[in-house]
């Protein structure tokens, strides 16, 4: 009833345990006759090797990656996860992913559990509210890559997007098209990416010699419904003549609000499926999420292969995709 083991196979085939191990591990120096007997025994018994048992041997690992993101239900993270998963499988690795919901405690519990599961490497999107103090974590620590948000931890590689630069370019474009009073809609500014995009927004205004008015900056748009309500309020200000939406939820919210009030020029951060369906289609600051995932996996496997180089920080460029919604 219990799962058959190598020992069972060895007995069934009338060979020694070690020979089965050799066969299973694809070693070549093995008598064809014995190999056939072993193969037959494996089939009749329905034997499957136990990788968990194998992985506790010195020099062996779980061939498993840990990934901690904010929320897999958000397309941004699911596309990212998919990209990492694809690369991982090319290397024979499986991915264990889990969502922190931006909750520091939940994040920490997940990380602890993944470490106990002995994942070979860890890719982490740090949660909004701090989470674990990495600097106090004692080695050995598996290869560690932070995504999207920087963390003070010398041993880890970091991959960021050019959030500030992308936002700045987008807002400058709105200004170039004649906007003078541009509203800013984002999720909580305690989130690094939101802060950076907000900084880019302010920088663009400053460069254009335009004033920053906190009345038209709102950072409470967690869902698209929140964002729709917020933009609705902002549009009551007749002088608001454009909107910069700092994430895809905010963009969707702006579109919803436009339906009920009035349309103004809009650029959003992050591409989203519905962007093409707007009339006009929605212009966005696009980041290459797949590239970020690919790069994270590449770094991880380079580290696992033994690359001892100093930790790196990569900032990926963003791209302003103009589709019409930026125009008055």
């Amino acid at each position: 009833m219990a799962a058959p083991t190598m020992n069972d196979v060895a007995r069934e085939a009338g060979v020694a345990l070690k020979t089965v191990s050799r066969f299973v591990n694809g070693e070549t120096n093995i008598n064809p006759a014995m190999a056939a007997r072993i193969a037959a025994a494996i089939t009749t018994l329905g034997y499957r090797r136990n990788l968990a048992a194998a992985s506790i041997r010195p020099g062996w690992t779980s061939r498993t990656l840990g990934l901690v993101i904010s929320d897999l239900a958000n397309p941004y993270y699911s596309v990212l996860t998919r990209a990492i998963e694809s690369r991982a499988r090319e290397h024979g690795y499986l991915v264990i992913s889990a969502s922190s919901d931006e909750n520091g405690q939940q994040h920490d519990r997940i990380v602890d559990r993944l470490m106990e599961q002995r994942i070979d490497a860890l890719i982490v999107v740090p949660p909004r509210d701090a989470g674990r103090d990495w600097s106090s974590v004692t080695p050995p620590i598996p290869p560690l890559v932070f995504l999207d948000r920087p963390v003070e931890f010398p041993a880890a590689d970091v991959i960021l997007a050019d959030n500030a630069g992308g936002a700045r370019t987008a807002v400058a474009e709105l200004v170039r098209n004649g906007a003078r009073r541009i509203a800013f809609v984002s999720d909580d500014l305690s989130i690094y990416t939101m802060r950076e995009r907000h900084a880019g927004y302010r920088q663009a205004l400053a460069e254009a010699g335009l004033p920053v008015d906190e009345q038209i900056v709102t950072s409470s748009a967690h869902s698209s419904e929140d964002a729709a309500a917020a933009v609705g309020r902002l549009l009551r200000d007749e002088r608001v003549d454009a909107v910069f939406a700092a994430n895809n939820r905010a963009s969707v919210g702006a579109l919803l609000a436009f339906r009920e009030h009035r349309r103004v020029p809009l650029i959003g951060f992050d591409d989203f499926e519905a962007a093409l369906l707007g009339d006009p289609a929605v212009s966005v600051v696009s980041q290459d999420i797949q590239e970020m995932g690919r790069l994270a996996a590449e770094i991880v496997f380079r580290r696992l292969a033994g690359d001892p180089g100093a930790a790196t920080t990569r900032v990926l460029p963003t791209r302003l995709v103009l589709r019409g919604s930026e125009l008055p």
Copy 2:
């Protein structure tokens, strides 16, 4: 340099291995003084237990779930995965998920690997092109749940959505609003859900006494771009007076085509983010994906708790959400 083990902790604390094991497993009968020494040793050494090692002991498991879906980048599956992940964590379980890309070989490799990793249970969306012949898989097999598509395997539970019924209701609604020549747009009919929705479409037409015209049935819409092109072609037929889109990609494609040609009444299968942004908003047959994930997890943990009941097949209802696009 290597990760510290229980033995290291025991030596550091000056106690026996077993006492550390007791402490780590939260047993109570333990001398407070020793407990303190052990706690200190764990901190200084940075000890973390090795769950992989623990899991090979009889009676212990990996506390890990395997999940095989089609494509995590598709919002349908990412929401599903997220729902399962949330429930799993409530039970102290981690989820290893992987995408088959509807490829039978890839699916089988993933399943094999997950079994070798000794996941405690397996949740599977069977791939389009057959994949593994489950009936030939030898026990013991972990608790197994098939999602979205039925499989001939008596030991497994199955959760389906009412694909045919949902499609039938939607098409009937289009008919009720005066449509007489309704185009059908779907992904490949080799996919079970597409076949079922197609059957519902035909049934509704039959019940309305309307003819089925294969000229306006297209099943090559894998992406929204494919779907847009297909719908564009269909709309050249002046008499096409409505579209039923059999999945969310097809719905998006229809909306794109409407922009370039003409708008006709539309109902889609599966809700999608952009549905609310259309003008009019897009009516859909909505399935409760979260409920499906929740239910899958519930069944799994009931089986893991030892429920020996016969395998069940659940068919979840769909809901027709009318938002305006169904009208002429």
